[in-house]
Symmetry: C2
Subunit: 390 residues, 2 copies
C-alpha cells in the first residue's frame, strides 16, 4: 500500500464542492486535544459563527461530529419518541429519508407527498397538520435530489400555528441561499459542510431552539441514539460549568469548518448569496442556449443545485464519463426515480465562480456533441458571458 494521491478534480456535483487551498491548509494544522483550552476557544468561535450565519441568536448552534444525515437523525431522534406523530413533507430523496428515520424513532408518520422537482405545497401541509396533534413538522428546504427550494418561512409558521416543532433540512441551502432561523421561527435546523460552505464532508452544523430543547428534556424515554443525544452533546458544547466529556471531537475537521466560516464572513454572507444567484443565472442562460431544460420551475429553483433534464437519445453515463475523463469535471447523476433522467450540476461555495460556469458549459456541450447532439458550445458560452458581464 502506498500513499494516496487523489486526482485533481473540479467538483460540480451535488457535494462535495471544491475545497479552497485555505481550508485544506487549515485541516493540516497540528492536532490538539479536545479538552485543550485553545480548542474550547475554537468551539466558541464556531458556535458564534454558525449562529450569525443562520441568524439564530437564541438557538444553540454547534457542529455534530458526522456527515449531514447526522443532523437529520439528531433532529428526529431527539424530538420524536414512540407514540408521537410527525408530519413529513416529501418532495425528493431527503424527505424520504426523514420518513425512514422518524419511523426508527418510533413515531407515527403522516406523509405529505409532492412531486419530485416541485416545492413543498404549504396548503397540503396545512391539511395534514389540522387536527393531527403532530409533535413535529419536518421538511427539506433545499432538495439536493431535485434542486427545488421550498418556502421555509411559510412552513415553519404553519408548524407553530398547529403546535408542532419545525425541523428544517438546510444541508444544501446554507451559504447558498438565506437561512433565517429567527425570521422563519424554525425550531431545529441542520446542514452539511460539503455544500455551499465548501469544507470537506463529515460534519453537520446544527441549531436547536428553546422549545425544542424543552421537548428533549421532557422526553419519557431516552433518545435512541447516544452519540447524537442532545442532552449529552449540549453538556459537552455548552461551556457552562465546565464541559462534560462526551465524544472526542473531530479536531482537524473542525479546523476546516472554522476556516470555511472565516472565508464566508470575509466575503460577506449576502455577497455569497448574490454570487450563487449570479453564477446560476449565467449557467442557466448557457444551458438553455444549448437547448437544455431544468427539472424545477424557475420560481422554486435553487441556484446552487441545477437539476437538468437529459435530452432524449443521450447516454447520460457516457456524458459524465467524458466530463470526468477529459475535463476532470464531476457532475451528479439523478437519484431514485430521477436516475437516468437528470444531471445535477452544483454551483456551491468555492465551485460557484465564472471559471466553473465556463468550464461546465464547455465540457458539457463537448460531451453532448460527441453524441450527435448539435454543437452549441459557442451559443452557450456567449449566453453565459452576457449574464456574467451584466
Amino acid at each position: 500500500m502506498k500513499s494516496f494521491e487523489p486526482p485533481r478534480r473540479i467538483l460540480m456535483g451535488p457535494g462535495p464542492s471544491d475545497v479552497s487551498p485555505r481550508v485544506l491548509a487549515a485541516l493540516a494544522r497540528p492536532t490538539i486535544g479536545h479538552l485543550d483550552p485553545a480548542f474550547q476557544g475554537l468551539m466558541e468561535e464556531i458556535k458564534a459563527a454558525l449562529a450569525r450565519l443562520m441568524n439564530a441568536p437564541s438557538h444553540a448552534c454547534l457542529p455534530l461530529p458526522a456527515p449531514g444525515t447526522a443532523g437529520m437523525e439528531a433532529a428526529l431522534m431527539n424530538l420524536l419518541e414512540p407514540g408521537d406523530r410527525a408530519v413529513i413533507a416529501v418532495n425528493g430523496q431527503f424527505g424520504e429519508r426523514m420518513v425512514d428515520i422518524a419511523g426508527r424513532a418510533g413515531a407515527q408518520v403522516i406523509r405529505v407527498d409532492n412531486a419530485w422537482g416541485e416545492a413543498v405545497d404549504p396548503d397540503k401541509v396545512e391539511v395534514a397538520l389540522k387536527g393531527a396533534g403532530a409533535k413535529v413538522l419536518a421538511f427539506v428546504h433545499a432538495e439536493t435530489s431535485t434542486g427545488a427550494l421550498s418556502d421555509a418561512g411559510a412552513l415553519c409558521a404553519l408548524a407553530r400555528e398547529h403546535g408542532a416543532l419545525s425541523v428544517v433540512d438546510c444541508v444544501t441551502s446554507l451559504g447558498g441561499v438565506p437561512v433565517d432561523i429567527d425570521g422563519w421561527g424554525a425550531d431545529v435546523v441542520y446542514s452539511g459542510t460539503q455544500k455551499c460552505l465548501s469544507a470537506p464532508p463529515g460534519l453537520s452544523p446544527f441549531a436547536m431552539g428553546l422549545r425544542a430543547r424543552e421537548a428533549v428534556s421532557a422526553r419519557r424515554e431516552k433518545v435512541r441514539n447516544w452519540l447524537l443525544d442532545m442532552n449529552l452533546i449540549m453538556a459537552y458544547w455548552s461551556g457552562e460549568g465546565g464541559r462534560t466529556y462526551h465524544h472526542t471531537a473531530p479536531i482537524n475537521a473542525l479546523y476546516g469548518l472554522h476556516e470555511a466560516l472565516v472565508v464566508l464572513e470575509e466575503e460577506g454572507v449576502a455577497v455569497a448569496h448574490a454570487r450563487h444567484r449570479r453564477m446560476h443565472e449565467a449557467l442557466a442562460a448557457g444551458l438553455e442556449a444549448a437547448g437544455l431544460r431544468f427539472l424545477a420551475s424557475p420560481q422554486h429553483r435553487l441556484p446552487q443545485l441545477n437539476a437538468v433534464l437529459i435530452p432524449d437519445g443521450i447516454d447520460e453515463a457516457a456524458v459524465r464519463a467524458r466530463l470526468l475523463g477529459a475535463y476532470s469535471l464531476e457532475i451528479g447523476a439523478g437519484l431514485g426515480p430521477l436516475k437516468g433522467r437528470i444531471w445535477r450540476i452544483g454551483l456551491m461555495g468555492s465551485s460557484a465562480t465564472p471559471w466553473h460556469v465556463r468550464l461546465c458549459l464547455t465540457a458539457l456541450t463537448d460531451a453532448l456533441a460527441a453524441q450527435n447532439y448539435p454543437d452549441l458550445a459557442r451559443a452557450a458560452l456567449a449566453a453565459a458571458e452576457k449574464r456574467l458581464s451584466d
Copy 2:
C-alpha cells in the same frame, strides 16, 4: 473572526495522540467526490488494510464516519433489539457507556461489574452467560479510563460457547497491542483513529463477521439508527454490484486514516507493538523511580495508557496546568470515580517515542517538585534511559 492557529502541543493524554506531519499533509490533499472511481480505490485499500491490521480476513472491515463511540453504537444498535439480552462487562467508563447504549437499543442488560482498574474476570462473565440466553457479550479490550487490558480471546470463546455474539471495544488497543479477530473468534470489533493509529479523531474502524451480519439481516425491526445501519452501510462500502449511495463519506479524514495505515504498515505492526511495549517499560521505570504507582496491576497493564495514581497532597489539576503551560504537554485526568485520583499518560502511536518518555518524565517530576514533592527527575530519567538502552 480570524483563522485559527492552534498552539503546538505534545499529546500524551488518552487520545488524540500526536499526528505525524505525513498524516497531516494527507488531510490537506484536494477533496474528490465520494462516488469518484479514485475514491472507490481508496476505500478498497482502507478496507484491506484494516482487515490485515485486525487479522480479520473474512470480516467486513470499514471505517464508520464518526468518532469511536460510533463503533460502539453501531455494534450494539445493529445486533440488539427489544427483547434481546446482552451481557455487558463493566470495568470502567466505556463499559458503562455500553450499558447505556444497549438499553437505548431496547435490550435487557445483564451487567458484570469489575473494579475500575482491573481486567474483566472471565469467571464472572461465564456465570452471567450460563443459561441467560444472551444474544451478545460485550466488553472493552483496553479500558481507556483505567489502563486495564482484558483477555479478549478467553471472553470471545465464552461468548461462542454460550451462543452469544461477541462485541469487543478496541478503541485504545488497535495499533498498540495485538488485535486478533481471527484468533479470538470475535464477531464485532471497533476502534478509533486518534489513539494508536495517530490519525485525527473522527472515524471508527469497524469489523463485522458473518454470524453478526446474519443476525443483523434477521432482525425483526429496523435498526434504531439510520447513519449506522449496517444493512445500508454495507451496500455503500461493499463494492458489489455498484455502490448504493448512503451518506457522503468524510473524504479528507479518510485520506488521513489511509496515510496512517500506510505508515503503520511501513513500520510493521509487530514492530509497532514492540515499540509501545518498550516505551511503556521505560516510562514505567521512570515513574516508579519517582515514587509513582500504577492503578492497574502489571499483568493487565496497557502499554499505551498509563493510569498513574496521584500522590497524597498533590494538586493534580495544578500539575496538568504546569505541564500544559510550561511544556505544552497534555496528559489526561481521571474520569468518573477516578477523577482526581489518577493521571492518564498516553504512549500511543506517534506519541510512543523515547523523546516523549523523556519529556514526560522531565515535565512531571518538575511539576511535582514545584509542590514540595521530592525532586526525582534525575533518578526517573536514569531509570528510563536504562530501559531505553536495553
